[in-house]
Amino acid sequence: MGDIREEARLVDYRKGVEEVPSRDGYGHGLLWLCENDERVVVCDADLAKSTRTIWVRDKYPEKFIDFGIAEQDMLAEAGGLSRTGLVPFVTTYGVFVAGRAWDQIRTSICYGELNVKIGGAHGGISVGPDGPTHQSLEEIPLMRVLPGMTLVVPTDAHEAKKATIWAASHEGPVYLRFGREGVPVITTEETPFTVGRAEVYRDGDDVAIIACGPLVYEALVAADALAKDGVDARVINCHTIKPLDVDTIVTAAKECGAVVTAEEAQVYGGLGGCVAEVLCQQHPVPMRIVGIEDVFGESGSPRELLDRYGMNSGNIAAKVKEVIAMKS
């Protein structure tokens, strides 16, 4: 039976976890950058408190620029700022940036290869009571179809901080997706994190569960439950959606023979879509995609919504059973 890899240096999540929103990791990453990288400026569109850029506004007011409620302007302004050598981190909710300002991101920023970093907060249905208008479920497909974009979906606050700091060191557009709710912190300072490389957290060769964001934790919990039923699941944190770690995914498909993906997003065109594109061309295996099934969400508590829309550990385990049945 496989188990958690020593070298993953994860928190012993079975003994309980601390819950912290990944947007906090973004805030901490920005503070670190303001201290250490004089090129960095932090931009927001009237959501400084929710996105944690207020920490920068309070501590480094000279590095903070508020564009008011004008996301399209902010994105193109950031493009302008970047051409002067600054590294702007533009920040608002996912819907209002990946959606509202998509054309600015596409044509000015990605086509022009501008060095703009985008922090998209409030990704996922776990945004909760604010409802569907604020639950960003589409950024993954919207951003990953853009040539030159790097897209990272951190699993927890630690990883979010690492990804934020990394983004400044990379030349080119980067989108970082964060959540609103406190979610289990499973990684540590020592957990390996390299953009573009998926990390195997748990060994196993009956099935591979490839997840991103907070669903990595749900995948680990699912794997523990499956182990009791004699199913040995490999769990992979695929935090970088683009560029995708094709090797790790194809190897997993070859060695496990079945794959389930899990993300807190629409099932079309997201992580599941990426993995399916790779596998059907390189090594087709039975596969299922866990996510939101082509509907908008609704108001409710984060936990209620994850359960209703089928994104908890039990839902992942159920899909695993399906692909295992298809293997024989």
Binding site: F67, D130, G131, P132, T133, H134, S299
Partner: protein, 288 residues
């Protein structure tokens, strides 16, 4: 026209329901709901032609809430007018509710458009106004925006369109409470002189006290007389109006009063003394 004293009392009860609703929900937007209360009450009690029994009545006037986060005031008004049972108010933001955290037209009777992404309502309303006009329908269209919301470029795109097509059946209302989330509108992204901007865009503009029911009603009536241009009412208001600890506080933009002592204090400021939960059990007119 309904007697002003009576409408002041209606406004007080609407504010009460907003507070109780938000306390019960545990999240949601207090400040911009309280500031818009008289704007909404004067419109729905004195001006807007509507039929709660038949929300899609062809001869109605339209109301579009562009600043969707202020839906508690809209929901309280719709319930009081009889669009849906009052008890629905206490389900705000909860699973399976008809009252989503931001308005959804397919779930709530009386909601014309889904909203929550700022800067889209003026275009939607302008489109309705254009559609009505083209089909000879005499209905008017009212749309409520925030002042921070005026930052959105799309607002000004719609501003040009409505003037270009002489949409004299379109009335915008800007809830000018001088606060957005990150602070004072003039410090975050200055808007003044806002009235001059709208005039320069070819609109008829009124700048009035948005808590004065008489002034609001008068402005709506003046709009109805205009035969060429769209109208913008800049309603000067106080964010959080009526609840002492919320007034003019940016931090109360997106926060509810807490259940218990805090909501009780809010109701006290509004002149209600009965235990806050009792208001859930009685009808709109019950004052304890």
């Amino acid at each position: 026209m309904v007697d002003t004293k009576e409408l002041e009392e209606v406004s007080r009860k609407i504010r009460r329901d907003i507070m109780v609703m938000l306390a019960e929900a545990g999240s949601g937007h207090s400040g911009g709901s309280l500031s818009a209360t008289e704007i909404m009450v004067s419109l729905f009690w004195n001006v807007l032609r509507h039929d709660p029994e038949n929300p899609d009545w062809e001869e109605r006037d339209w109301f579009v809430l562009s600043k969707g986060h202020a839906c508690p005031v809209l929901y309280a008004v719709l319930a009081a007018r009889g669009f849906f049972p009052r008890k629905e108010l206490w389900t705000l933001r909860k699973l399976d509710t008809i009252l989503q955290g931001h308005p959804h037209r397919l779930k709530t009777p009386g909601v014309e458009f889904s909203a929550g992404s700022l800067g889209q309502g003026l275009s939607l309303a302008s489109g309705v106004a254009m559609g009505l006009k083209r089909q000879g329908n005499p209905g008017n269209v009212y749309v409520l925006m925030g002042d921070g919301e005026q930052n959105e470029g799309a607002i000004w795109e719609a501003g040009m369109t409505a003037a270009q097509y002489d949409l004299d059946n379109l009335c915008g209302i800007c809830d000018r409470n001088y606060l957005m989330i990150d602070g004072n509108t003039e410090e975050v992204m200055g808007l003044d002189p806002l009235a001059d901007k709208w005039r320069a865009f070819g609109w008829q503009v009124f700048e009035i006290d948005g808590h004065d029911l008489r002034q609001m009603t008068y402005a709506y009536e003046r709009f109805q007389l205009e035969k060429k241009r769209p109208t913008m009412i800049i309603a000067n208001t106080i964010k959080g109006k009526g609840v002492s600890f919320m007034e003019n506080q940016a931090d109360w933009h997106g926060a509810p009063p807490k259940k218990g002592e805090q909501v009780q204090q809010a109701l006290g400021d509004l002149g209600f003394t009965a235990p806050w939960e009792d208001f859930k059990k009685h009808d709109f007119d019950w004052v304890g």
